[in-house]
């Protein structure tokens, strides 16, 4: 392929890659991306049309002017944000370069400008697709730069004829292509290495726009019954929970859920937590938030959570969260243990340590609830709107004979899960209140209905209860050792206050029986594990990771040193060490000197030999100095004329001088001795 054509092709591909990056970052929509790509394709053919004179310059410049005005208006008034406006401006500039291309410089500029599309995308995108775009761009970029360099040099050199046609004639094949590929590979490898070692010393001071992501119903202060219905059929992965403890078997954690929001108030249709007392917490110097105290009710589990951008302030974690590490400076905690953070960027990655409640395990000594529920609190969690009396009657019937609140809760949960059907078809059939319709007419619903029904029934028999919402534990990905939580895992359950134990979770929903098991394919698990690693090792790479990496290297180096040490009590004595060090230094100096890296090159023309310099000084005392343009032999002849008695000695010295300075071989010992004798003869008094 001719070099110029290859350069054009690579540059256009780079621009297309940049457009793909913008699309991945949602900075342009699908329609916009298609339009831009179409414009790029048109610009490819536009050059021929321009050469044929089919395009009038005036028309072209009018279009450019109109587009420039439109872009300016967009930048200042129409664009969603400054970043969007800048992206539109960037696209305009690139297309302008491509359409009005006059020479190589325009083509190169278009390629280099497309790099800024990646910059724009990088500021808000965390998608794994960015990695693909990045690698492609780097490969194309190195190619483009090398091609551009070669073609530009050829054009500047005017080789071998008309510059405009040279580049078209020169074919780009063979070894230089291999060099380009090697350069791209080395660049990629080095970039990866540099990425991991560049110290993450900075603190985020200028947060770029973080995408809020899709708004998800069900995880706000006010949630209508049935709001999960839409999302429970969505299979998108929204959260990945990496369990840091490698020895932990996920199967030993039954009923693991990711709790987000908790509701205490019910008005018959809507659950809310608006009135819950909240407190703001500041991050400690150690960079974490202490949100609770361990109670000894189960194992401590450290979860590293990677959340897709989700339109909710809730911080999801396994109950009961004890400690939270997050980039946000503040955290809002309500008195029900609900955690919220308004910084959407900070919610994308955090670490939580939770104490997992193990059913039936007694509380450790001294870890009973420190505060007994007050009357006001009890009233709060027993709050009920005016409801049909049948609900309370049903509750009493179900819980009749229960010895305590736990037994009552168990009976209601069992009643609901066995006598009612789980469904996502939530179409209203009557004008009754939603809960009444669920319990007595439809007898089917989703998890919210089950949770709401249980909470209301418990409250109606005097047991404090509340509704919690979050996600089920999700699928375990054995390739990445993490839980893959989908939007369809959104779930609601009930927390019941049991005297002496505090709040205990109950899940009355027969969801597990209703759901068909959809086992994800191995490929999809691999891909998701790759995505997880992308989040883990690239998007969220931090100073702490770097410290851990360095410590790991140090540990491995120490292990290797210990493993290689033999015999184990062998120690290098100072004398041996010094000797070896000196030997290494001498060898290094010799090698560097030989290869001319440090010492000045000691080649044959380095300097005048000392014996000849001395001879010149001796002759200079007698008023004989070589002329500026006189060669050594000419000077020797002149010396012979002026002082014939010294001619033979100086002739010999001249011969040795020429050999020592311009010849490749050094003088032998005999020759050196002869040179010294000649020097003595030259110095002898006549």
């Amino acid at each position: 392929m001719p070099a110029l054509l290859a350069l054009r092709l690579v540059t256009y591909l780079m621009v297309c890659t940049g457009v793909a990056a913008l699309y991945l970052a949602n900075l342009i929509g699908a329609a916009g991306a298609v339009l831009v790509v179409l414009a790029i394709l048109v610009s490819w053919g536009h050059e021929h049309a321009r050469e044929r004179g089919a395009v009038r310059p005036a028309l072209g410049w009018s279009l450019v002017a109109a587009a420039a005005v439109a872009i300016a208006i967009d930048l200042f008034y129409l664009a969603y944000s400054l970043l969007d406006g800048m992206v539109h401006l960037l696209l305009f500039l690139i297309l302008l370069r491509l359409f009005a291309r006059r020479g190589l410089r325009d083509l190169r500029d278009a390629g280099l400008l497309s790099f800024f599309m990646l910059v724009a995308a990088a500021s808000i995108s965390f998608s794994l697709g960015f990695l693909l775009v990045y690698i492609t761009f780097l490969l194309l970029g190195t190619w483009m730069l090398i091609l551009n360099h070669v073609v530009t040099e050829l054009e500047q050199a005017g080789w071998p004829g008309d510059a405009a046609t040279v580049a078209r004639r020169v074919f780009f094949r063979g070894p230089l292509t291999q060099v380009s590929l090697v350069a791209a590979a080395i660049t990629l490898a080095l970039a990866a290495g540099l990425f991991f070692v560049i110290p993450r010393v900075g603190q985020a001071a200028l947060p770029l726009r973080a995408s809020i992501g899709r708004m998800v119903t069900g995880f706000s202060d006010n949630v209508d019954l049935g709001s999960f219905g839409d999302i429970e059929s969505d299979r998108s992965v929204v959260m990945r929970v990496y369990l840091a403890d490698e020895g932990l078997d996920p199967t030993t954690l039954p009923g693991l859920r990711w709790r987000g929001v908790v509701f205490d108030q019910f008005d018959g249709r809507t659950w809310s937590s608006v009135a819950a007392p909240r407190r703001y917490m500041q991050r400690t110097v150690a960079g974490d938030f202490g949100v609770g105290l361990p109670r000894g009710t189960g194992p401590m589990v450290r979860q590293e959570i990677y959340l897709e951008p989700l339109g909710s302030d809730a911080v999801f974690a396994a109950p009961r969260a004890v400690r939270l590490e997050m980039r946000s400076p503040t955290l809002v905690v309500d008195d029900m243990g609900g955690l919220t953070v308004s910084d959407s960027g900070a919610r994308l990655h955090y670490v939580v340590e939770s104490e997992i409640d193990t059913p039936g395990r007694p509380l450790g000594a001294g870890h009973r609830p420190s505060v007994v529920m007050t009357a006001a609190e009890r009233a709060r969690y027993l709050q009920l709107p005016p409801l049909a009396p049948e609900i309370a009657r049903l509750a009493r019937e179900v819980t009749a004979g229960s010895v305590d609140a736990e037994a009552a809760a168990g009976r209601i949960s069992a009643h609901l899960s066995t006598n009612y059907r789980y469904t996502l078809a939530l179409k209203r059939q009557t004008a009754l209140a939603p809960l009444e319709e669920f319990l007595f007419v439809r007898r089917s619903g989703n998890c919210e209905y089950f949770a709401a029904a249980m909470a209301v029934m418990l409250r109606s028999v005097g047991v404090p209860a509340r509704v919690a919402a979050g996600f089920q534990q999700g699928e375990w990905n054995q390739y990445g050792r993490y839980f893959m939580v989908r939007l369809s895992d959104a779930h609601a359950w009930v927390e019941v206050y049991l005297d002496g134990r505090g709040w205990v979770a109950f899940d009355p929903s027969p969801r597990a029986e209703a759901e068909t098991e959809e086992t994800p394919g191995r490929l999809s698990l691999y891909l998701d594990a790759a995505r997880m690693r992308w989040y883990r090792y690239v998007v969220n790479w931090s100073l702490r990771d770097q410290v851990q990496l360095a410590a790991s290297f140090h540990r491995q180096a120490t292990d290797a040193r210990v493993a290689l040490a033999w015999p184990r009590d062998w120690r290098v004595s100072p004398a041996v060490g010094t000797g070896a060090g000196l030997a290494v230094v001498v060898a290094l100096v010799w090698w560097l000197g030989r290869h001319g890296h440090v010492l000045p090159r000691s080649g044959p023309t380095a300097r005048i030999p000392a014996f000849y310099e001395r001879a010149l000084r001796l002759l200079a005392r007698r008023g004989l100095a070589p002329g500026v343009a006189e060669t050594a032999r000419q000077f020797a002849s002149r010396v012979g004329e002026r002082t014939p008695d010294r001619a033979a000695a100086f002739d010999r010295l001249t011969g040795y001088y020429e050999r020592a300075r311009f010849g490749d071989a050094a003088l032998s010992e005999a020759e050196r001795q002869d040179a010294l004798r000649s020097l003595a003869a030259l110095n002898a008094r006549s």
Binding site: A122, L190, V598
Partner: protein, 346 residues
């Protein structure tokens, strides 16, 4: 101590210099800007882009070094350079590496005069030099004045692979050369008209008109010199050998010391050089005489070079001729009468 001195010497005399091109400056600027943005936002994808730019810079350094390493530049200067006349200079680029090809190297002329040239004349581009191979590049350079002249040299540069940095080696071809005075063509007619001459036979082979000798034909002899009559008599090809025409043996006498005006001095020296060249090329013996400038009679190219060197280095303040001692034969021949041409240096 020597090591320290050597290290300091190396520090101030690096083997290569490196300078960003305009694109390189942009690349550095963008890398710094993105680095600041990455630090302030903590966005790792920006760090990824910064890493790519830094990697590009490092790879640029590695590959350009690979291209420059093992390249030897040997200058080739002609034996005779005349003032005001273009001289063909050259340089050989040898790739001493055993394996790697050097791509995209440029021989840059460093002469101040070359800076005024178009880039195509100032930069000689060599697309590649394969391992173990050599490339010869040549260019014309005009040195304006006679005398000793230090060539400003040439150097190898490369922008390979990305055009972001110019890496340059140390200059070569920086030795001193002696530039002879400008010479003009002198016609044979003009030579004959110049001055009075005493004619004398020199009885030696040459390109004159008189017969010197007859000898047997040898391969390579000019057929026009075959002496047919003698050939017929001897039944073998015989050729004529001509006697050297010594009627033009000349003594060029420089009159005055040239202290009155540089222009007149240069004109005079140029005239002397032109006559010397013309006479020697015509086979004449030439002797140069003048104040503190004496080159005895001689023939041939080496003798011409001695005279031209003397004229090139003629200095009104401290004149010094650099004559080679005349050989015995030439000394013997110097008693022949010479015609004398006087050249005023004013």
């Amino acid at each position: 101590m020597t090591l320290v001195r050597a290290a300091l010497w190396r520090l101030f005399h690096p083997r290569r210099t490196i300078k960003p091109t305009r694109d390189g400056w942009w690349c550095l600027l963008v890398a710094v800007g993105l680095g600041v943005a990455a630090i302030n936002t903590g966005n790792n994808l920006l760090y990824l882009l910064v890493s790519a730019l830094l990697a590009l810079i490092v790879v640029s350094g590695i590959l350009s070094e690979q291209s420059m390493r093992g390249l030897d530049l040997t200058g080739v200067a002609p034996d005779e350079i005349y003032a005001g006349q273009p001289a063909l200079l050259g340089a050989t680029i040898a790739n001493r590496k055993g394996w790697f090809t050097s791509y995209s190297v440029t021989v840059e002329l460093l002469a101040p005069e070359a800076r005024a040239l178009e880039s195509t004349s100032r930069f000689i581009y060599v697309r590649r030099v394969e391992a173990g191979r050599e490339r010869l590049v040549t260019w014309e350079e005009t040195l304006p004045r006679r005398g000793r002249h230090r060539l400003t040299g040439v150097r190898i540069t490369t922008r390979f692979p990305f055009g972001l940095f110019v890496k340059a080696a140390r200059p070569a071809l920086t030795e001193e050369v002696v530039v002879f005075p400008a010479v003009r063509p002198v016609s044979a007619e003009s030579l004959r008209r110049l001055g009075e001459s005493g004619e004398a036979s020199a009885r030696r082979r040459g390109r004159g008109n008189d017969l010197y000798n007859l000898r047997g034909y040898r391969a390579g002899d000019d057929p026009r010199f075959i002496h047919w009559r003698s050939s017929a008599k001897t039944e073998g090809l015989m050729v004529r050998e001509l006697e050297a025409d010594t009627s033009q043996n000349t003594r060029l006498v420089l009159v005055g010391r040239g202290r009155r005006g540089a222009e007149a001095l240069e004109r005079g020296l140029s005239e002397a050089a032109s006559l010397a060249v013309a006479l020697v090329r015509a086979g004449a013996g030439v002797e140069l005489a003048g104040p503190d400038c004496e080159v005895p009679l001689g023939h041939g190219r080496a003798h011409l070079r001695r005279m031209l060197t003397a004229l090139a280095l003629y200095d009104t303040e401290a004149p010094r001729a650099v004559p080679a001692p005349p050989s015995g034969a030439e000394a013997r021949r110097s008693h022949f009468p010479l015609r004398e041409i006087r050249i005023a240096l004013a």
